[in-house]
Symmetry: C2
Subunit: 412 residues, 2 copies
């Protein structure tokens, strides 16, 4: 067992949370010389909620956690969350569910909590049986090494083809109290709205009931993780967990409460958008971060559909990789949605350069300036439909030869 | 003007058609040292019909030809079809339509035919103004050089990023008469059902009225070009033209006629499937030809949706490029359609190896044999849903680093 290669939160800016402990190790199920198993334990009195993939082929841990997410957890007991990387435990049939059962039995007796207080997340190859007995062997080590200072280790341990960990940490003040929100995410390929292969974990000490936290989580996910796309593929495993230790309550009036909740939601959304963008920036082979905004659409649905048609177009993504302002491919991506639009109203901007209007190209473009602007790491594409007042924004990455190389080789 | 680099049909197996003449030249609008302009002229008495892209951003030639396709052509006059490569004349506003107008005026006076007998097809970059005056300058050369032996030259002249021409030619017997069907196609990127950047031209001498030919064309396109996908992108320019010189009529009874039409439809469909597969095989950077079949679905729509979800999944396409039987990614692609299925009924086969059933992996797989089978150029993926009796098949290619390289560099 390799228990080495640990990193310390000390020196990093990770804000810890009273009532939340983490430990990590190398499970020996897939990777060598790196941690791939994380255990997160929240003190009694905590709440946790989650938001899951829309895939109809969910992994065993998604099925398990979804079931428990519907239940009220036993507040007198600890909440336990186990994450492994390298094997998604997806499409593994009864074996997959049995693996969850047996891991839960063991964790339940170690941490003296009901099974409904136990959650799982797995990421990795689909269809391979999870060697869960190997994983269970590490539980006593993980228990002994729980610490408040393991955020950094956990953020590394959940990675697969990601190049680097994606972390978020902040302190914010609401009604003169200081709260903490810290989290980490993974996600590289299979990134499409509805949270394709991505996992995210966010923890706070802001006291909030499970129901409200669930509503906030769903809403913030729609504003963040569901607006990103790396390759249009959606995984079987995606999950966003949000937990609170409830350590810092606000004793306040009803009016103040509404205000405080609104302020907390803003912080949660900010954290999720930050992690979502970091996932895109670390997309497989990605060299550019692309923000696509469709404005002045008749409906938000139209704006969203066109945004994703552009974001998922291989021809658009390769053009951006080639630093080519090939707006014709954006027109193509709009056209293939089959949405009827007034062509003469459409304006397309890349890096704020207006490239077409009145149904045709703009002639007076400073190609040198545009070419220089396209060399930037962040590329903005704006499509003004000129038909209404609704808009939508998505974030994606370019498509490079590295994406293909990474994904052709991933399993071997 | 470069009028050289001509190839002769003689020596090739291209069957010519009485009443159909072609000439090609280099227009000087985009390419050097290669022909990129083709003129096809059908004798009076011919019929032509076409099937167009579903894009809501159609090119000017698509708008023009669609309009004329609705009309009955003047049978006493010639039918003229002009094709250029390098500039799609798409999203060019009034300039684009004016270019069609002026080309048509010139062709109309040269060939003494009404404007409704004139059709256009263009392929290439979107959003650049078509230098149509340069094109018109070549009309008298094209007229003088019309020949029955220019199929090969035309098949080359329509290419953009294609690696090679895609041709089809056959002779077939119906009720003891010999007919000919010859054609060619282009298409490389933006290949998605509804005929993304592809053009196809098929010509026969089988006598058939325009209405029936139109019905047959629409139907055969659904069975062929609308079942292929290279990158999920749909172009603004796709068109399939089918023309007949009507030179060989069948004088037959009503019963015989139905039989003859059925036989002709089978030949037309065969030709389109052949060209469609050739487009996939020549897809940008493609190294593998992938046939995806979904069987035993409840409805054909479900089978089709799952087929295309698999065919357009970057992760599936890169896995096949990497010769990896990563069926987990097929499960992912099925799951992201959000269609509810009985997971335990699903069987996935790659190269006829059953890889999963009863909701999990098959253990007893001969990895060496499977690995060897994946090295073949043609890869078969079969998904048996075990829920009904409907099926669907699509053809696609793998996704390689070359695709990205080609599309990042295309315009520059």
């Amino acid at each position: 067992m390799n228990k080495s290669n640990k990193r310390s939160d000390q020196g990093s800016k990770y804000y810890t949370l009273a009532g939340l402990k983490i430990s990590t190790c190398c499970s020996g199920t897939k990777y060598e010389n790196r941690d791939d198993l994380s255990l997160i334990v929240l003190d009694p009195g905590s709440n946790i909620c989650a938001c899951f993939t829309a895939s109809t082929m969910p992994s065993a841990p998604v099925i398990w956690s979804k079931e428990n997410n519907k239940k009220a957890q036993n507040l007198k007991q600890k909440i336990v969350l186990l994450i492994n990387a390298g094997n998604a435990n997806a499409f593994t049939g009864e074996d997959g569910l049995l693996a969850c059962e047996e891991k839960a039995s063991s964790l339940s007796s170690i941490f003296k909590c009901e099974r409904k207080n136990i959650f799982f997340a797995s990421t990795g190859v689909i269809g391979e049986k999870l060697p869960h007995k190997k994983i269970i062997q590490h539980f006593s080590y993980l228990q002994k090494n729980l610490s408040s200072y393991n955020f950094t280790n956990a953020s590394y341990s959940i990675l697969t083809t990601d190049l680097k960990p994606k972390i978020y940490t902040s302190k914010f003040k609401i009604l003169n109290k200081i709260f903490t929100l810290s989290g980490f995410a993974k996600g590289s390929g299979m990134i499409h709205p509805n949270m394709a292969t991505m996992l995210a974990f966010l923890f706070t000490d802001f006291a909030i009931d499970k129901e409200t936290l669930s509503v906030f989580t769903q809403k913030a996910v729609r504003q963040s993780f569901n607006r990103i796309s790396v390759d249009g593929d959606m995984s079987t495993s995606d999950t966003v967990f949000v937990g609170t230790t409830n350590k810092i309550p606000l004793k306040i009036t009803k009016d103040q409460k509404a205000k405080a909740l609104k302020a907390f939601y803003a912080e949660l959304k900010k954290a999720m958008i930050d992690l979502a963008k970091k996932i895109v920036l670390d997309g497989e082979g990605a060299k550019k971060f692309i923000e696509i905004t469709v404005t002045n659409a008749k409906t938000a649905t139209i704006a969203k559909k066109i945004c994703f048609s552009i974001a998922n177009s291989l021809l658009v993504k390769t053009a951006i990789a080639g630093e080519d302002a090939n707006w014709g491919r954006i027109i193509m991506a709009i056209g293939k949605t089959k949405i009827n639009l007034k062509i003469e109203n459409i304006k397309i901007y890349i890096q704020n350069f207006l490239l077409c209007e009145n149904g045709k190209a703009i002639n007076a473009i400073d190609d040198t300036k545009l070419s220089l602007a396209l060399k930037r790491k962040t590329v903005n594409i704006k499509v003004d439909l000129g038909e209404g007042v609704r808009d939508f924004t998505v974030w994606t990455s370019d498509l490079t030869e590295d994406y293909v190389r990474i994904n052709a080789d991933y399993r071997s």
